[in-house]
Symmetry: D2
Subunit: 470 residues, 4 copies
């Protein structure tokens, strides 16, 4: 996103952050007053553009959707002919459903869908909702040999990182399922990856998202899907960190070894605080690897373990106590297994690890940019009048803005900071021009005021606060 | 339920089976045309009577509710101050949620609620819904140290045993949570146990339900809750089978040893068929044992394993491939543990096994009775005219009724039988009088016709079919 | 102990259980001075008599042996054509080997043998020794497709219950493997069950052992082997406790419900002390269920879980924190599985639970008897001279015996009691006649002195102390 | 090892490969005729030199030893004051002992020792032997609160990679335990790593070994020990493959991405054959990470998972079906945990992952070198006469050598090749001079004949065949 586009979007805002992606511009409403049932729903249907990843595999249908007001969303991976599945939960805070049943290792294909979602444990409602949609739509029934089985996992995308309690829910998930299509997957800040971040271990806090990749070797197909919400930093194949809001003095071409070699000094130490930093350290990467090669339960489990382990190269560190990492290994069983039919499981797993690495790299969206404050700005009376007041974001956060000596200041009224605006001391808001203000610091921060609301970080990850007082 | 009451109910039915339990008479609507969102909701609020079990423990709040039209329901056990939990899944088809997280053994108390439900895997929607109600009601939030954690398990109560696809859902579970109260638990065919059965291994197919028991030893409290939907037979402490529709020739005072000693002959062999018998063999007993003694994760796991194992005395056989048995061991942590503070874990577990046995025995509701057909009944033209026609039950079952030589006959139009009415051959309906018909056989069966519908087994477990043709 | 002494002891005992097993009378040497490598080895080869259980199944070879000086032993169950296996560990202190490998669920038959042993964790040497015997004997090799796989588990039979540190070891296990034969199993206090006890939860402390049972239904064979070293009481099918040294006032026809109904008062409360009572509370029941029906890994796991759970009827309580219970489910795969080939897994599991119950009941050997002291005995000078002195048992226990006023007294010199002889106060030894003394109490106790040693409980579970001083 | 040293060793050989490491030159005897009990034992006691790694931590004692005739060995890590432990088994073929007990998560420190060994499942005898040594030496006893607990894992180092069935056994392990010392660890081809290899996935088949590393941050100590017997290639921090016998055409500076990017073509495809290639694909990396920071069972498990996962960077691919990877996380508990006492578990885990990477890199010994055959060599009659004959290696391999036209040829007499010498076709042996012959190919190969024997690959990994015929 170049500066002009940024400015254009910033200019365009009139009380609402317009988000242009796919063909569905939506109004972000994260004011906490709107109940879940009244939230505007965005389903990435007919989605195209550079973030649209295409792959050729009719047995896999993908549906994704978001509540832009969160923003948060869900990603439904539906196997209409059912599939075999094994799971590997490795992180310290996994959210899962029906994993005990699947772990029993029955030889039948029983999986209908895997649902990935934001919203921490609340987001698991999406997984159960996809299953009830299957019976509501009479695709599955109550007969013992036709019962729907849906698994699902969630990422932590709440706390200080967005200022509301919106979670992906039944309505969103069922809409995503019903809109699911084969062969297309939105990469970046969509679906379950809508508010993902990465690199909190070192305070990088880069925006992340969901990724996908596909490879075919002869008859064998391998697809990887992942939602990268990782405590560790995303790492390219040539050993570079992909996206990081750096600390001063860090190298231009940052590598994981720069960070790891300087540990513990390079680590961001605030683990138990109540500010954003502590929240950024609650993470999860949830992933799905699919092959069309038939696999028995033991093979599928090995595939899950090997591919999940391989991800430690692309995300460093990986599988920590503050991640809730889960990986699903799925076989659609279209290609027979056995001697003479091609690659052994260890070979498929090795290649699948590379496909997963591709998927991880594809997850990172364009990052928010730092804004440059004007030199010696003179604020107009109108600018000041528009800004001052009190604003509420969701349930837990609110802001007071006032002026003093021709400059405006803000302070969080709750116990927690509101991004760059501290709770215990005034923070000066510096004008960028055209009604936009910033606070310099490690992370980009913008705020814009209007009659009814304040919009923080207008654009992709806007947070809207409702004016509650003059 | 004596014959008079039975007749009264049978007489009373005019298109609807009135069910008098607690103070909430509801209309059963299992016609398959009603969407979940339009189903009438029954919450057992203000529930009293012989089925109401009282116990003194403010830290445990119980809410239960049903869709009588299923019938099926959910039971919410809410720990408002949170609790520690361990899980033991043992059966061959468990439905679970968040068990991987809980298995990590963190020392903090994190459990908010356990939800037990009917509806097989679809019923898991109740567990996720209870968690989203917690954030919707602002009892929990998105801050990483205040996230709601809800677990839940389900029983299989669909297939041929009720003729519709109704499942306990988000609306039902949230209503039950919000109506939860301490100290009271409805025992029998309520909540998650609404359509439970037991004894399918030997074809007993007795109605079962949910049970509860409580014991206090000094300061130590132990409560047991269970939904007994077991393949095995429920067994009293003096070794008698509790409830069984017997095969001809079986002893009056039936014991598990009669049945087990005569195996495999005594076993009901139809495991893969499509009729009710096959469906009755998909089961699950889901249980919760709670103590106020503080326990570390290892102790809780031991308590779970010991109590779950002990249930093999009260349910024979137990933990088979066709059960999905799950037990939750919970500690509210009100009483300190450690040497000198009373009973060791093995002792608490031993006593808890006895409390659980009590809970199991309390689960069994009054059984349906066999009806006696009239000798040489003469059907009136009106009776015949009212009966003949086609009826649809839910999505999968429908019935045709016709007359021939002054008698009426019925046949299932789908591939599956409708209880005693076969799919491939006509079954004669014998008049009991007053518009009620029966089919003699191992299991009680009644059917009553009116202008709009046919009611099978009017009373507690009534199934209503909508007339679809003359 | 030479043959004469053996005969003498046998003759002398009046009121004590005579021990006649196999054709191998052995000298008990539990003086602690003998290294493991010098212990006399007893292999139950050519074993016959009432304890010899015969069954027809060539694919299962059983070898058992003991160090009578412990006494403790090992039981090797060898599958020469290999078998499939699943394991269910349920108790709070299991000892296992290679369970992680087997849990992966590969479809190949890989198990060579299961070794059950006494000696707590030290006894696991028997399991690894059986595997090294397989390569030493060139029955298995180092080629990746011909590697031996042996599993094994152990019981706790040390602490205060025998006064030495002897454990079943490599030499014993390899000898038992090499002597293994099909179709015969010694039931009672042999092999791994040599020093088993049962009922410590209630202080019963009855001698137990190892059991076996077999049943054939059509082509399907089921064998059960078990070493019953249980905290709970062994229970007959008609609900009676099998063997228990009772507390005064307990009913003649004792049932588990007598004990459980009176809990916690009926429970023996000394869990952390250093005397025998605390040691008797460390237990384990280890079991093997075998079928010839082919089973996939999921079926085998279900069989293991169901049968293990069913044992809670025969042992009450079962699977406590102080048990280390493990069950192996094995399939030799001689009979095909699948529809139409007979019983489903749940049916086999149910019948197998009954066979296992038979095996448990068969494990209990004839109990030691209480001796009746003489009224007003006059000890001869020779009797007194022979008795007085100091005696050492194993490493941890020693005894001082002295005379006072024509009577003899004993006291343990270490911190722990020596069975009925306390550590902190003199205990009078009462003459039974013929050089045998007793101490009245809950448990039978006998002691006999000679020039070189003191023999406690001469007979089946004799403990020999070496004279260390005049 | 430079060329001169290599030549010197080659020259020095007169029927026996002398191996100079530490101060213990031993004679390799891998002729298969020697029973385990007669094998010469090498304990690395007083070991010094470049392979000796020193670290300051008295609570960890390390003992290592080998049967050079294998060569194979064991590494004992003894915690004399006991430690807490968690295990993470991830590969497809783990060998483990007592993992079920440890997984129960009791809060007490119970681990006495971890034993790592060669010899595939047979090598587990070393782990049980260390525990019986503890009771034999009266360091542990049979009292329930003083029972020794030893865990252990093994690597696959048999099959075609060494031509005998020697395994590390009870005698070796007990000697290693008794020689254990704090602060020193032999890195490279010693102990359990004596016959480790790496890189079989791509046919690299480089010699590997065991490694160690240590780091102290303030009061917190972290030590890593690992036996790298990996299917994947060992990777340096700057992304280079460490040691690989390359295929023609592979880049000089080989990276994992060269190999993975060219997969599946780069993969060595012979998975089910009977030759060395198939055997080289059975692998295992077994590792131990130790910290002195007190950790509860949940923290230890997280540490195990995170560090194990991080190893996927240093070994690519890692945790495949053909690895049996196991990692033990141990806490000696010397430093208190809790807020304010330094690093959180995720930070310790991240740093520990780096320490483990160091340990892995330190494991690789100097590689064998290719020998250059002479141009147009003229063999003397004496050289020919010495060479021709039949030789037996262990149980499974034998060789026939003959001359034809002034040249000598060899052929394996069994079904399997003997390294570079095929089984189905003659292979010409080319003279290097001084009685040494070679066969050109991907892997270095040398053979030298004397009156009694043939020595293959004289030097560190020599294999000796006994002459069985003229």
């Amino acid at each position: 996103m170049n500066k002009d586009i940024w400015r254009k979007i910033a200019t365009a805002i009139a009380g609402t952050a317009l988000i242009a992606f796919g063909h569905v511009p939506v109004a972000a409403q994260s004011d906490g007053a709107t109940p879940q049932s009244a939230l505007e729903l965005t389903i990435n249907d007919g989605f195209e553009g550079k973030d649209a990843f295409h792959f050729d595999w009719p047995e896999i249908r993908v549906g994704t959707g978001q509540y832009e007001a969160g923003p948060t969303g869900a990603t439904v991976i539906h196997f209409p002919k059912r599939a075999h599945v094994a799971m590997d939960a490795r992180g310290g805070g996994p959210g899962t459903i029906n994993s005990d049943y699947i772990a029993l290792g029955y030889p039948a294909a029983e999986l209908d869908a895997i649902v990935l979602a934001g919203g921490t444990f609340y987001g698991l409602e999406t997984a159960t909702a996809v299953n009830t949609a299957l019976i509501d739509d009479r695709k599955r029934s109550g007969r013992w040999d036709n019962i729907g089985v849906v698994m699902g996992s969630i990422i932590y995308d709440m706390g200080g990182r967005r200022l509301n309690e919106i979670y992906p829910d039944k309505r969103l998930a069922q809409a995503a399922l019903r809109a699911a299509k084969p062969g297309i997957f939105p990469r970046g800040a969509y679906g379950a990856g809508r508010s993902a971040i990465a690199g909190g271990m070192f305070g990088c806090n880069t925006n992340s998202g969901q990724g996908a990749a596909f490879r075919q070797i002869g008859d064998i197909k391998i697809a990887a899907f992942t939602v990268v919400n990782a405590l560790g930093v995303i790492t390219s194949r040539d050993g570079k960190v992909l996206g990081c809001y750096k600390n001063p003095g860090w190298p231009e071409e940052l590598t994981p070894q720069h960070l790891l070699g300087a540990s513990p000094a390079s680590m961001d130490g605030d683990w138990n605080g109540t500010d954003m930093a502590a929240a950024e350290k609650r993470n999860t990467t949830i992933s799905v690897i699919v092959t069309n090669r038939a696999m028995n339960p033991a093979e599928l489990k090995r595939l899950a373990v090997q591919v999940h382990t391989s991800m430690a190269r692309a995300i460093q560190p990986f599988a920590t106590e503050y991640d809730g990492d889960v990986l699903y290994a799925v076989s659609t069983g279209e290609i027979e297994s056995g001697p003479g039919t091609g690659l052994v499981t260890a070979e498929i797993g090795t290649i699948a690890g590379e496909v997963m690495w591709d998927a991880i790299l594809s997850a990172v969206p364009e990052q928010s940019r730092h804004l440059t404050p004007q030199n010696e700005p003179k604020l107009t009376n109108d600018e000041i009048r528009t800004a001052i007041g009190a604003y509420r974001f969701g349930t837990d956060h609110s802001l007071r803005v006032w002026h003093d000596g021709g400059q405006i200041y803000a302070q969080s009224r709750g116990p927690h900071p509101v991004f760059a605006i501290a709770a215990d001391t005034p923070t000066q808001l510096l004008s960028v021009g055209k009604g936009l203000f910033t606070v310099p610091g490690r992370y980009p921060f913008a705020i814009q005021f209007s009659k009814d609301q304040a919009v923080i970080n207008p654009g992709r990850w806007a947070q809207i606060g409702k004016r509650t007082g003059g």
